[in-house]
């Protein structure tokens, strides 16, 4: 009797677990579906009450018209340029620096590693204004340099840290053997370390691509002329200009802006998950 009741309770618990997970799934997914639905609706249908989930007369007009309202083709090209150059810098420099921290010692290396960790919790606001004034002196305002150059100088403490963690798990005998065979430390880095940590390289690459694709704050600070806007700034500009009147178009353009992120995520999902997991590994 008692045992049977326990089994019933356990089943009910199991059902509850799935019900909560399914509810959370709906909350996560439904906004996207609503975005797609709205994007294909005519203006009249967008404001219909009760709302229709599947558009009655699906239209592509929102996509063509919305895209034309501002120069989204240029914004896209600009974003691709920034995202690719910044990501290349991030991957190269963070792995390079991570190798230095993981494999070599100097009197200051311990202290500098602590400093590196400390910069992870430094609010961006504290360095923003002097950085801006510095870039201003260099004539870099309204150029892409402020968005790209920092990525080539380590690419962020978080990414460096990821590489340090991973390089440290590799046995030292690996590079010692290569060094005895006459390999330089740079050859060890390019031919032994990098190929071994391919999953981390890919994780950093996809996370950096997505980060730079959707970055809003720094482009907002540094870019002034419209022909230099990235897609995030373009979207915000479009929204503040036509916001609530052109919902269908807003949704259509937002959807197009999200597509590259969704595609990258679909293909490289496990590298994202891996990267996030690694970040929480050492707390």
């Amino acid at each position: 009797m008692h045992a049977r009741r326990a089994i019933v309770f356990r089943r009910m618990g199991r059902v509850a677990v799935y019900l909560i997970l399914i509810a959370a799934t709906l909350v996560c997914i439904f906004p996207f579906l609503w975005m797609v639905s709205t994007a294909f609706k005519t203006m009249a249908e967008v404001y219909r009450i009760p709302p229709t989930f599947i558009p009655r007369k699906p239209t592509l007009e929102n996509f063509s018209k919305g895209w034309g309202y501002a120069d989204f083709t240029t914004f896209t090209k600009n974003t691709i340029f920034v995202a690719l150059t910044a990501t290349l810098g991030t991957v190269l420099s963070s792995s390079f620096v991570g190798y230095g921290f993981a494999r070599f010692r100097s009197r200051l290396s311990g202290l500098l590693e602590t400093v590196l960790l400390g910069t992870m919790i430094l609010p961006v606001q504290i360095t923003l204004i002097p950085q801006y004034l510095l870039f201003h002196k260099l004539g870099w305002i309204d150029t892409y340099w402020p968005l790209i150059v920092p990525s080539w100088l380590g690419g962020g403490a978080f990414n460096i840290f990821l590489f340090i963690q991973f390089f440290k798990t590799l046995p030292k005998e690996l590079d010692e053997a290569a060094t005895i065979d006459g390999a330089s430390s740079f050859q060890v880095y390019t031919q032994i370390m990098l190929p071994t940590v391919r999953p981390v390289l890919l994780a950093v690459t996809v996370m950096s691509l997505v980060y730079h694709w959707r970055d809003f704050f720094l482009p907002l600070v540094y870019l002034n002329s419209m022909n230099k806007y990235t897609i995030s700034i373009g979207l915000q500009f479009f929204q503040s200009a036509y916001g609530n009147v052109r919902i269908g178009m807003m949704m259509a353009v937002s959807l197009l802006a999200l597509l590259p992120v969704l595609v990258i995520f679909a293909f490289a999902q496990r590298y994202f998950i891996q990267g996030i997991k690694l970040s929480g590994l050492k707390s």
Partner: protein
């Protein structure tokens, strides 16, 4: 590491020091990109922004020393200085605890040997990956008072939904809800932490007759405290910098209800060109965020449980 160093120093003498020198040289060569970036883009700016807050520097970078004038202005004249700190702290206090509780509970459910784990994980992570201007605009549409989806769903169960972004009472809550929608990374980190707990702990607890709830409260929760602590620190620091969502959705309104410290700093520095005052606001943010971090760290001795 230290013990090893001393040992080889005793053994090696000259040869060791040659190797140590080469090691040190390599260290500086490989870390040089970061070192340079740290000096020029982090250390110098920290020192410089500390100086700037005592000046009336403009967007062009020129200005003179004005002593504590920026702080006097902040406390005496600027009507928004306290408002933005109050709003930001309100956001942090609403967002951070709910984020930790929800992500822990969802991670806990995901860890229960369920089917389709990969599917659920992907789905929960999706809002986090896509978070940005596009998704924020989407939420603006969902929050629409008259024809928004959220109020329509509420009307189905007989609730007359509020004017989410237009009502000062609900605007900040709306920003919090949107932020809570994008906590996929917290869930994944929590899940990784829970999965790291050795199953032998549960087995022996069950032999001693513990039920599932007891296992959660006496094994999973205490052993997840290091992960929760990590999430708490990172999420708190991030939450203090809240900018994008209110900037895009409400512009700080209505009636400054969602106007945050980061927005006030941005507006003063880059729209009004008051770089000196902007630096003062940034330092205010920094000091409060750091104080809270130190407090969390200090309290962690009492509640974070380290297994080894």
């Amino acid at each position: 590491m230290n013990a090893l160093g001393t040992a080889s120093r005793k053994q090696g003498g000259r040869r060791y020091s040659a190797k140590a020198r080469r090691d040190a040289l390599n260290f500086y060569i490989y870390t040089s990109p970061w070192l340079f970036g740290f000096l020029v883009l982090t250390l110098y700016p920290i020192v410089s922004s500390f100086w700037l807050m005592f000046t009336d520097t403009t967007l062009a970078g020129t200005g003179k020393f004005v002593g504590l004038a920026n702080w006097v202005y902040a406390f005496r004249t600027d009507p928004l200085f306290f408002t933005v700190f109050k709003n930001t702290i309100k956001y942090v206090l609403m967002y951070v605890p709910s984020c930790l509780v929800i992500s822990f509970v969802l991670a806990l459910l995901l860890s229960r040997n369920i089917k389709f784990l990969g599917f659920f994980r992907t789905v929960f992570y999706l809002p986090y990956v896509t978070a940005g201007v596009a998704v924020t605009i989407l939420w603006g549409w969902l929050y629409n008072a008259e024809v928004g989806l959220i109020n329509y769903v509420l009307s189905l169960v007989g609730i007359d939904g509020p004017n989410w972004l237009g009502d000062p009472k609900y605007a900040m809550i709306s920003i919090v809800i949107l932020s809570l929608w994008t906590i996929g990374n917290n869930i994944i980190i929590m899940l990784a932490g829970i999965q790291d707990i050795p199953s032998s702990y549960y087995e022996s607890a069950r032999i001693d007759g513990a039920n599932e709830l007891q296992c959660v409260f006496h094994i999973t929760l205490p052993l997840s405290t290091p992960t929760i602590y990590f999430n708490l620190v990172v999420t708190t620091i991030g939450a203090f910098q809240i900018f994008d969502q209110p900037y895009i959705l409400t512009g700080g309104g209505p009636m400054n209800a969602t106007y945050t410290v980061a927005m006030h700093m941005f507006r003063n520095a880059f729209e009004y060109g008051k770089m000196g005052y902007g630096a003062a606001i940034a330092w205010g943010l920094f000091i409060i965020a750091m104080a809270l971090t130190v407090l969390i760290q200090w309290s962690s001795k009492r509640w974070v449980f380290y297994d080894h």
